[in-house]
């Protein structure tokens, strides 16, 4: 099936795509047919910058298990670092 359901979010960071590094401003997450992965359905994640055109995109296609493992790993990595270390909010320069 084509689910079409798409979660969209604003992002702040950078990613390396087919033409090099670019600033990431937007993201999409959807469960649908993958373009490349050899599964009928995958969790598809796009990291994009629409202002730089459709080619400013990093595409990821993961199984459900892999996607959840990625989410858990992100939580663990953040929990292991000082709170706010990777935050976009301005912080005083550390010594």
């Amino acid at each position: 099936m084509c689910t079409y359901l798409t979660e969209k979010l604003r992002l702040d960071g950078a990613a390396k795509g087919a033409s090099g590094w670019f600033t990431v401003t937007d993201g999409m997450v959807y469960v649908d047919h993958p373009y490349h992965a050899c599964h009928e359905h995958t969790v598809n994640i796009d990291l994009t910058n629409p202002s730089e055109g459709p080619s400013a995109r990093v595409a990821i296609e993961l199984t459900e298990e892999a996607a959840l493992a990625l989410v858990e790993a992100i939580h663990k990595a953040l929990a292991a670092a000082p709170p706010g270390l990777a935050s976009a909010a301005p912080r005083p320069a550390s010594a």
Partner: protein
Amino acid sequence: MTDAMWAGTVAVTGHEGAGLEAYAARPLGSAPHGGVVVIHHMPGYDEATKEIVRRFAANGYAAICPNLYSREGAGVSPDDQAAAARAKGGIPDEQLVGDVAGAAAYLKALEHANGRIGVIGYCSGGRQAFLSACSLDIDAAVDCYGAFVVTAPPAEYPLKAEPLISRAADLSCPLLGLFGADDRFPSPEEVGVLSAELEKLGKEHEFHVFPDAGHAFFAVDRPAYRPAAAVEGWKKVFGFFGRRLAA
């Protein structure tokens, strides 16, 4: 009789004069041939769809697949174009009809064209093949598992697709429908509703629901591929076009 063909990228004029990239293939022989417009699936203008275009040429048709996501930018890879189009909720119906009309005009202008045009589409293209057949004067249409012909997408879906069943009275040509029994979009129940409506309207149609097959059973590069249904489905397609598009 020769089975040689030409295949490659061409430019066609789509809706409101837009320049579109398209992939075309045609027999090199001088016998009159019918034309087939191939409408790609939602993942876009990909290698598997180009293979389908060549398959029609190998079987004696001039075929063309317009890149419906051409407007996302020249030189952009088809998967990135598809992602950008998806983010916008797909493409407007009016634009699709104009693009298919432009592709059909390209085929009709070819040297050995017999003037007959068929349309075939897969997945979202299945719905769009039906839409084309209700909007344009064509000779045969094939809907391969097109969803949202009978029912609207669920409210939370961003896809801009209205049901088309109210337009069935405008169907301009015979319709072949090929569906999977395990598909949910469209479900066999929806296929039944469409069939009943066409029956009521006296519209010529031939529907097949293949067992042990779901959505995208023709897609040879995906796990959804079901050889038994696809082999039988291709026989139905060539039988149907053979009857409808002959000179």
